[in-house]
Structures are given as C-alpha cells and as structure tokens.
C-alpha cells in the first residue's frame, strides 16, 4: 500500500475548532439565557433577548456540526460516548427545545409570557448543566467492551460530573455577561458587569477546583502535568489563565466594552487547552486514541474536500451576519 497523507491530525483540528466554536458561540447565548432570569424588568428582558435573537440558531447549528463531525471523524468515539451520556443528552435536547421556542413563543404568546420567560432561563441553565455533565463524564471515561459502551445509563452522574456541570454554568454566564456588556449600555450594562464579576469569581473557583480534582482522580493526568520536564513546558497554561482572570476582573470594573468578552473567551481557550493536554491523545479516555478511533481514509478525504471549501464560507457569512447586527442592541430591530 502506498503511504497516504494522514488526515487524522487535520480532522482533530477541525473537530476541535468546531466544538470550540460551539462552546464559545452557543456558550455566550446560553449564558445570556441564564442571566436573563435576573434581569431587572421587562424592557431589559426584551433587550437582552434581542441581543441574541438574530444569531442564536446559527450558533446552535454548531452543535449539529460538532456531533455529526464526531460521528464522521471518530465514529467509534461517537458510538461509545453518546449512549454513555444518554440522560444528559436527553436533558440538553429537551432544554434546548424549550429555550429555542421561547424566542418565538414569548413574543407571540402574551398570556403565557411568564412561562416562556422561565422556560428560556431554565432551558438555558439545564442545557448548560447537561453539557457540563457530559464534559465531566467524558474526562472521567467510560466502561467499554470492544467498540461499545457497556456501563449503565446513570453512570455518568458522579460528584465530579455534577461539579463540572455547575462549573460550566458559571463559565457560560461569564461569557454571556461579556456579550451583554458589548451589546448594552447605561444601567443595563452596569448590571451585566456586576453579574459578570460574580460569574468570574465562580468560574475561577470552578476552574481551580477542576484542575486539582482531575489529577487526583486520574493518575495519567497527574503524571502528564506534574512530572519533570512537562511541568515546565506546561506551566504557561495555568500562568496565562491566571493572567486572563486578572484581566477579566479589571475589565469588568473599568469601562472597557469588549475586553470582558475577550478575556472570558481567553479563559475558555485555556481551559479547553488544559483538557486537551490532559487527555491527549485519547478520544475515548483509556480506550481509544484519536488514530484508533478515526474513520476510514476515504470517509475523511471525501468530507475534507467539502469542509475545506465550505467551512471558510460558513465562517465568512457567520461573521457577516454578526457584522449586520453589530453595535448596541437597538430597540427597533428584532422582537419588541
């Protein structure tokens, strides 16, 4: 057989980016959804919802791409991970249904507005929590036989995964607050900054606890981070994270408009890198590496051709739609 180009690293990067785009984009609008519950009045709620109304379904689409991308690039990982987190996935999907429909229904179904307001906030919170549980369960690993998950459907709920669920709620809330600082002004912006500070404290505490908890329950992770010379190579990760946390705190307290969001994104990038470093090169921790789980070359190549053309196009028009709806949220565009 002639040696062919190994596409696995390319797909690892694409899938990694895809999942990150989902986390960053739907992350902030789920975060906005959670903060929505604390909004001072109806006018504020209208503005908050309008700040994400034109873009949320585009953001959520990355979830489809993430899940189908996992199926395409690393099928066995999909076949193991998804049934293993059966109930968190169910919770997430049902919560996303409520949340997504609240956008449309809230403005048209005036009699039940309170119901849809709660549906929007609770849906956002539950979906976020469920995603955090999935993340925690993924880090902990699954009971696998051959190419299938053989554990129980409730195994994924552990103290650790419940904690990562709560942690992600703080993280998304921070992203959401950063977004609202960009999109609002005046008292509403001050309100977003105040909530952002609380979310930041929660996020930092959660990141610190998860960073310590993971090596305690997982020896290979501990070996990766705390052995010499890795500890020297990897030390920038926690250091930069600390720096970003300080920068986020400062920007939430001064008048910067974009810095809180950027800093929050930076914190997500670093946490994401931290998880990737901990698990590398596994895609199903303890069982399958990226190479072992990869799809056939033909599958990877066939999908890569289109992805390399279409993904940049998607990024361009996603950027364009953000550009169209740039600036402070106006009360005369969108629902009102």
């Amino acid at each position: 057989m002639t040696p062919t180009l190994d596409l696995v690293p390319i797909w690892t990067v694409i899938l990694g980016l895809g999942v990150f785009f989902y986390v960053a984009l739907d992350g902030f609008d789920l975060g906005v959804g959670m903060l929505y519950n604390f909004a001072p009045d109806r006018r504020a709620r209208d503005l908050i919802m309008n700040s994400i109304a034109p873009i949320w379904d585009g953001n959520e689409t990355w979830l489809i791409l993430g899940s189908v991308g996992l199926l395409a690039a690393f099928p066995v990982a999909f076949a193991i991970i998804i049934p293993a987190v059966y109930f968190p996935i169910l919770l997430m999907l049902l919560a996303l249904i409520f949340r997504g429909l609240a956008f449309e229904f809230r403005f048209r179904d005036a009699e039940h507005r309170t119901l849809w307001d709660h549906g929007f906030a609770a849906g956002s919170a539950i979906a976020t929590f469920a995603q955090g549980v999935i993340l925690g369960a993924f880090i902990q690993g699954f009971q696998v036989e051959g190419r299938q998950f053989v554990g129980g459907s409730f195994d994924c709920f552990t103290p650790f995964s419940i904690f990562t669920g709560i942690a992600l709620m703080f993280g998304y809330a921070l992203l959401g607050a950063g977004w609202l600082v960009i999109k609002t002004e005046g008292p509403l912006q001050d309100w977003a900054r105040a909530l952002g500070r609380r979310a930041l404290i929660g996020t930092c505490a959660a990141v610190a606890i998860v960073s310590l908890w993971t090596p305690i329950i997982d020896a290979p992770v501990a070996a990766r981070w705390f052995s010499w010379p890795d500890i020297a190579w990897l030390s920038p990760v926690p250091l930069i994270t600390l720096g970003l946390a300080w920068y986020a705190w400062r920007s939430l307290n001064n008048r910067s408009e974009y810095a809180p969001f950027v800093a929050a994104l930076g914190l997500f990038v670093m946490s994401y890198l931290g998880i990737a470093i901990s698990l590398w090169p596994m895609i199903v921790p303890g069982h399958f590496t990226l190479e072992q789980a990869a799809a056939s070359q033909s599958t990877e190549a066939f999908l890569l051709v289109g992805t390399l053309v279409l993904l940049p196009v998607i990024l361009v028009y996603t950027a364009w739609s953000y550009w169209v709806f740039r600036g402070k949220v106006r009360s005369d565009i969108g629902y009102h």
């Binding site: 034109p54 189908v68 429909l101 048209r108 179904d109 565009i333």
Partner: protein, 465 residues
Amino acid sequence: MHLDPEFLSRIQFAWVVGWHILLPAFTVGLASFIAFLEGAYALTKQPVFLNLSQFWLKIFAISFGMGVVSGIVMPFQFGTNWSRFSDAAANIISPLLAYEGLTAFFLEATFLGVLLFGRKLVPPSMHFVAAVLVAVGTLSSSFWIIATNSWMQTPVGYEVIDGRYFPKDWFEIIFSPSFPYRLAHTVSAFYVTTAFVVLGVGAYTVRRGQTLAEGRMMLRLALWFLAIFLPLQIALGDLHGLNTLEYQPAKLAAIEGLWDGGRGVPASIIGWPDQAAERNLAEIAIPRLGSLYLTHSWDGEVKGLKDFPADQRAPVAIVYFAFRIMVGIGLLMLAIVATGLILMARRRLDGSRWYLQLCQFAACLGFIAVIAGWTTTEVGRQPWTIYGLMRTADSVSPSLTGANVVLSLLLYVAVYLMVYPVGLSLMLRAVWRGPGPSDEAIPIGAGRPKTPIDALGSSTAEART
C-alpha cells in the same frame, strides 16, 4: 412486564422523527414560496406580494424555529439509541449528514436571521437573496437527508470489513438506486403539502372577506401550482413504486398486501392483512390489475410475501394501511384541485363558500399523507436498518435498558405534546390576524408587543412614504 429497549427505541425514533418531519414538510415548500413572493414583489412592486411575504414569514419563523430544535434531536438519536448502527455505518452515512449540516443548516439558520430581522439593515436585493438562500438551504437539507435514508434503503457502493461498512464509491452511495425517486417524491410532497396549506389559508382569508386581494392571490397561486404539481407527484409516486418493486420487493409485497406471488397478480383494494395466517381477511381485490400497474403488463411477475422468510417481512398491516391512506389522500386532493380549477374557469371560485370551507379542512391533508408515506417506506423497510444487511435488532445501543428508554420516551412525549400545540396555536393566530397592511394599524404599546414582522411592516411603510 418485559420492556424491550429495541422496540421502545423504535417508538421513540418514530415519535421524534414523526413530529420533526411535519416541519420540513411545511418549511421546505414555504421557503420556496416566500422566495417566490419576494421575487414577485421585486419585479412587479405590487403590495399584495409584499403583504403575503410578510404574512407567511411570521408563520415560517415559528415553524422554522420548531424545525431547528426538533431537528437537533435527530442526529443524537443515532448515538443515544442506535450506537451499534452508528459504529457500523458511520463511515458511509456520516459525511452525508455532515454535508447536510455544512451546506444546509448554516445557510438556513444564518440567512433566516437576515430574512426576519434584516429588512432595515440590508439592501432589498440582498434581502431577496437571503430569501432564496434560505429556500436553497431547505432543499439542500432534503437532498442530503434523503441521500442518507436512500442508502439505508438501497445500499450500494460499499464493502463490509469486520461487520462494518466502508465506502468504495461515493457517487454510487449518494445516488443510490432509490435516491432520485425518493428525493423527487418527497420534495414534491413537501411542495404539495405547503400548497394545500396556502390554499386553505387563502380560502379562509377570502371567506372572511378582509384583505380580499391577498386571499384571492393565495387561492389562485395554490390552485395553479397544484394543477401542475399534484399530477406530477402522483406520477413520481408511481415511479418510486416501480423502483421499490425492483430493489425492495419484500416491502412492495407488504404495500400490496400480496402473499402469493406469481404472474398476473391481483390488486388488493382493501382488506385486513393477517400476518400469522399469511392471508388477507375480508379482502376486495381486482384480478390481474396488480401485475398491470406494477409491471405495466397483464401477466407480469411480482414476488409475494411468502417468497421471503417470515423473519424478513415487515409488519404488513401497518405498511398496507399507511400506503392506502397516502394514496387515498392523493386522490382526494386531486378531486379538490380539479373542482377548484373548474370553479375558477367558471369564475365562481371566490363565491363558492362550500368549496372554500372544504379547502380549509383540506389544509391538513398533506401532512397526513406525508406521515403515511413516511410510515410506508420506513416500516416497510423493517426488519432492517440497512436493507437486507443490518437488522434493526442488531442496531440498538447495548447499554440501554427498557426502563431507560421508557423514561426518555415519556419525556419526549411530554415535551412534544406541550410544545407542538402551542406552536400550532400561534401559527393559527397569525392566520386569524390575516395578511395585509392591517398589521400596521395595530397600535403599538397597547399591552401587546410588536412582533418582528410587524416591525418589518412599519419599516416598509416608512420606505414607501
């Protein structure tokens, strides 16, 4: 009681896909209709087209939102409940599903934002382009999903290694033998479904007497469209049936309720297929007619159910009746459209209240036919997920217990039963408010929020003045 995770997972899949398919059945056609209305307005500048476009956009926004969220559920079902199928078939079906996401979903989701909220922000030409791109997105979505489904129905272009399926020829995989027929028949069904909704809403609008111009336009557009597409749809259905005869003979035998194959087989009109006794009870059948329409020859040979082992037969009664419901509705639709055309020719369309009322009831016919058609083809494929190759029983996730699936199924049922009626009532409310410039007359700040489309209405009013 023993709870079978496979059976329950099938029910769950049927439940979530059944509700989901109602939305594409409507939005695929409606997106094209709105693009047509936007184009017609750009060309003619007649306000009736703009009013109609804004009216239907309201309804589209609700149904599309429901389509997005119920659609996100679907790919996860492959993983949560059908993980062995996912592992076996991923190398073939995953790129098709991924291409759907890449080409379609993003187009729709992104440009829908512009279509709904961007009329003030982008030039009119760009707004029309957004409408077209949303329509293209919905069609592209159908293309890839039907390609995936068709490969599962008529698998080709693959090789099997260790019980898993690997691609050999992508062109063959995408354009599998049943794909062109299934795609044409499905998209055309979606268009017909939407046209019947437009017909029904048009009839209601005319009957009510407000915004007459819009109502009359809807009636006529729908009738002319159906005059072409309904016969076409019936012809496409026939072709699809012939394709099934060739590639999925066991399914066709179940559709026909044909137990004993051979030459010159009868056409079963109606009866009760008894799977255990291997015959139809109380059957009315016409001798030799079956061979005629299946093979286009009086003594063409057709395989019967008994030509296949009992464990390779679909649940016959479900397939048999679902097919008859679909065909019955098709014929009923044909009668309604023919009547409408005759009334139109005699210039009595707008005054025939009985007919307008009939059209109102007929608005739901397409949806019933789509569900019946989908049931025919999906239940008819059983007991296979990949026809003739992988059994449904071997596809289900090994970790699931019956209790797990009961719990998830109950939650899906509860949420869908809560969400769908609200969505439907909101769409009906938009219909009740009606199209037209009356929107602009709704006072702002009277306790009722302006909807995005009302905002569009007032913005175009500004543009016109």
